[in-house]
Symmetry: C2
Subunit: 358 residues, 2 copies
Amino acid sequence: MMDAALDDISHRRYNPLRGNWILVSPHRTKRPWLGQEETPSRNALPEHDPECYLCPGNKRSGGARNPDFDGTFVFVNDFSAVKEDQVDYETSLSDDKASLLLKAEGVKGKCYVICFSPAHNKTLADMSIPEICLVINTWQKLYRDVKQDTPFRSIQIFENKGDAMGCSNPHPHCQAWATSHLPEEPAAELTNMVEYQRAHGSCMLCDYLAIELEKKERIVAENDGWLAICPWWAFWPFETLVISKRCIKSILELETDKEKELLAQIMSAITTKYDNLFETKFPYSMGIHQAPLRGTDEEHAANHVHIHFLPPLLRSATVKKFQVGYELLAEPQRDITPEQAARRLQGLSTELYRKKLG
Amino acid sequence: MMDAALDDISHRRYNPLRGNWILVSPHRTKRPWLGQEETPSRNALPEHDPECYLCPGNKRSGGARNPDFDGTFVFVNDFSAVKEDQVDYETSLSDDKASLLLKAEGVKGKCYVICFSPAHNKTLADMSIPEICLVINTWQKLYRDVKQDTPFRSIQIFENKGDAMGCSNPHPHCQAWATSHLPEEPAAELTNMVEYQRAHGSCMLCDYLAIELEKKERIVAENDGWLAICPWWAFWPFETLVISKRCIKSILELETDKEKELLAQIMSAITTKYDNLFETKFPYSMGIHQAPLRGTDEEHAANHVHIHFLPPLLRSATVKKFQVGYELLAEPQRDITPEQAARRLQGLSTELYRKKLG
Ligand SMILES: O=P(O)(O)O[C@H]1O[C@H](CO)[C@@H](O)[C@H](O)[C@H]1O
Ligand SMILES: O=P(O)(O)O[C@H]1O[C@H](CO)[C@@H](O)[C@H](O)[C@H]1O
C-alpha cells in the first residue's frame, strides 16, 4: 500500500530507470494561473490539405512528390538533423585541458518520417485497430531494414503531437532518427538496467511490472500483452509508461498478428483516454525505447521494450505544466501525484469523445 | 582554433560540468516552420497594475498586502512547492524489490519571491546599474539569512522571464527555493567539479575560463569581474554562461560595491543584448549556481559561482526551439552552433532598442 503521507507532503521520488530524482509537490495545484495558455487544437481539419507536405500526392519542400499512399508512408526527412555522408571528424587525442573541456565527436545517421495515414485529420486516437497495426508493421520493417542495411548503432522512434510539442504539421506522423551512437537517454536507461540485472539477477522492468500489477495504484490501462501506468517516478503531469508483459527486447519480437493487435489496442486506449481527459486533441511526445540495433549480449539481455508518453497539459486543454527555471536549473518538479493522475486516466472511457459528438 | 568542420557537420559535444552530451546539427536551420508561434510580449505595460499581486500596496492571493516598497521586496511564496513544516516521511529500509523500485524521501524547504523593482513594466534590461545592485544585495542577504536561520542544505535562485518560460506574472521578479536536499542539477555539477579537482588539481571553471579567454570564439560580453560566453556545450540556441573571473564560491564573496557593480553590469549587458537580438522582451530562465548552504570542505573548494541563462527563442521573437520528442527521449539537440550564436550576440549593442525608440 502506498504511504498516504505522500499524497500530502513534498517529497522526491527516485527513477531507477533513468537514475534521477523528481520533486513532487502535491499541495501546489491550487495556485492561480495568469500565464500563457495554449491554443486548443482546431478540430476541423480537412481530410486532404493541398498545402500539406505529408498528404498523398503533394509536393515536399525538397521537391519530391509523395506517392498516392494508402496506409503508411516512410521517407527520409528533407531536413535531417543527422546525415549519412559527411566528413569524418578527428577527435583530438591530446589530453591538455582544452581537449578535456572542449570535447566533440562526429555523428552520422539518417532521419525518417513515417506518415501514419493518408488522412490529414486523423490522430492515433481516431484510427482503428487495424490501421494502427499497419503503423506497428511499418515500425518493425524500419527497425529491421535499418539494422540490416546501415552501420548505425541505434534508432529512436518518436512522435511529437500537437503545437504545444513543437509539431510542425498536424498530419499524423512520427519520426525515427538512426545514429552512429547510442543517445543519452537510452544509454542512461541501459546502464541502469544492466547494473540492476547484475546486482539482482532479474530484469528491472519485469520486476517493476510485477509490483505495479500487484499494487494496482498507478494502472491506466491493461490487456494481455501490455500494462500502461503512470510510473512511480513520472515527471510530466499525465506521463504514462507502457511496458510489454512478455520480456521482449525489441518490437521485432512481436511476431503474431494477435501480439501486434494488443499493442495497437493499448496505444489506442491511452491516446483516447488522453483526448477524453480535457476533450481536446491532447499533445504529447511519445517514444519507443528498446534494444539498440547493435550492442553487447549483456545490453540485449537487460533490455525490455517500453514506450514513454510525455504530455505537457496539467489543468485543462489550455494550461500546461512548464518545465522551466527550477526544473531546468535544479530538479524536475511535478504538482499532482502519479497516483492521482492514474486514477483520473483510469476512470476515463476508451470511446473517443469526438465520435460521440460527431 | 576551433575545427572548421564542426561548423558544417553533425556532431555531439560533451558538457563536463553537467556530464552529458548534446547533439549539434548546424545545417538544420533551413527547415520551414509551420508550427506554434509565441505571442511576442506586450511592450505596453502600466508602471503600476492594480490587478498585479506583486505591485507595491496590492493584495496577494494569500490575503496579505504588499508594503509600499521602493527597491526590492522579498516574501514567502503563497503557493510554495516545498514547506518548512510537514510530517516526517519514514523511508522504508527493507531491501525487497518494491522498496528498491518505489523509492521516496521527504523534502522540506521554503520558497521565496523576490520583486526586483516596484515598477510593473521594467525588466533587468530596463533597470539601471544601481537598481540591479539592489537586487544583488537582496540575493546576498537572502543567501546569508537562510544559511544562518534555517537547517536547509541548499538554495536555488532562479528567474522565469516571459510567457514562453511559464512566468505567471510580468512584474520583474525571481524566486529562491531553499530545500533540505541538494537538487539534481547542482548535485551533478558538484560531483563533476569535485572529480575534476581531484583528477587535475585545479578548478574546472577556472581552467575553462582561461581557455575561453584565450580562444575568444564564444565570448558574448566581458568586464573585469565576469565573462559571459555561449558555452562549448550550450543546449538552448542562445544559452549563455556567466563565470566569475575570481574563483568565488558563493555570491557572499562579492564584498565591495565595485564587485557587485561588475556583476550588475554583465547582467545588464546580457539581458540587453538578448532583447536587442529580436527586438522583443526576450524570454529566458536564469539561475545562479554556487556553493550549497551546507556541504563538505571539498565541495566548497571545488565550487565556482556561475549563472546559466536558458532562452528558448531560435529564429525570431515568435519562433522558439522546442525541446520535445528527440530531445526528451534521446538526447538534447541544437541547430546553430554555440560559436554562431556567440558571434550574433557579441555584435549587438548594449544600449536597449526600446530606449532608442521611446
Ligand atoms: O512559481 P510560478 O512562477 O507560478 O511557476 C513557474 O515556475 C515554477 C518553477 O520553475 C514551475 O514549476 C512552474 O511550472 C512555472 O509555471
Ligand atoms: O523535425 P520537426 O518535427 O520539424 O521538429 C520538431 O521535432 C524535433 C525532434 O524532437 C525537434 O528538434 C524540433 O525542435 C521540433 O520542432
